[in-house]
């Protein structure tokens, strides 16, 4: 393999990987849904009446502060939604238990503490809003059923 072929190979693989990340990250995924109950995590945190958001960050996550600001801005008028930021390194066992592999990872819990889904990476536009609306609908349906 000559050097030109090596450069072409590295750039091609990196482009495919970058495009894969671009199109798969930042969207709600329910891969681990319904597996974890918030109360089983051993956190001294109070569940929100409508929903709870946990954002995992690390010291070396450059986009995490921006994501935190985005979520805080979105929920600032809704006191029934609880939002917590957790350092994945300080709570490494919790991160392992929740299968958190990168930062930011944002987990959404329903009012009864079930994980509804998660967003890995910087959320795409309206993704957090749509997820919270979905959880609120679930909560309302449960309330009406009771």
């Amino acid at each position: 393999m000559n050097h030109w072929e090596l450069i072409t190979g590295v750039i091609s693989v990196s482009t495919i990987f970058g495009l894969f990340l671009h199109f798969t990250r930042g969207k709600m995924t329910s891969k681990y849904s319904k597996e974890v109950l918030f109360k089983e995590l051993g956190l001294v945190l109070t569940l929100g009446k409508k929903a709870t958001i946990l954002q995992f960050k690390t010291e070396f996550c450059s986009v995490c502060p921006g994501v935190k600001r985005q979520i805080n801005e979105l929920i600032k008028h809704d006191t029934d939604i609880a939002f917590y930021e957790i350092d994945a390194v300080e709570k490494i066992e919790l991160a392992k238990k929740l299968h958190v592999k990168s930062s930011p990872t944002i987990l959404f819990f329903t009012e009864d503490g079930l994980e509804e889904g998660r967003i890995i990476g910087v959320p795409k536009k309206n993704e957090v809003k749509n997820t919270l609306e979905k959880i609120t609908t679930i909560t309302m349906e449960k309330t009406n059923a009771n």
Binding site: T58, E59, F60, G66, K96, K101
Partner: protein, 137 residues
Amino acid sequence: MQIDARGPRFGAAITLVVLLLVIYFDSAPLLAFQTLVWGIGAIAGPHRSPYGFIFKTLVKPRLKKTGELENVKPPQFSMLVGFIFGAVGLVGVAIGSPTVFLIATSFALAAAFLNAVFNFCLGCEMYLLLVKARLVR
């Protein structure tokens, strides 16, 4: 400490060009220069590295919009990761192994490309995986 988030991305774009030249011309001196840049950035911060200086003096004054600020630690950690790749590549040269030189430089090239084009910080992403594997901290 907070820095202009566009600075490290600009640095990654220059790094990308330098690493392309390193591989194309098989240039150990150029890799040594790039490794020195990473080393300065890893110790003093990316804003004090040569590319950070170019951004601050030549590029930033010409930009109209104000850039978003970010913590200096993530890009500083990336430069440490880059420094390690560069050092491994130079060890390859020292022991007469062009394969080690090319593999280490190729990894650094891929990381710089992802940072410059997709704003994806490979070093920052690796950090949590390394902690989980008990390889750091």
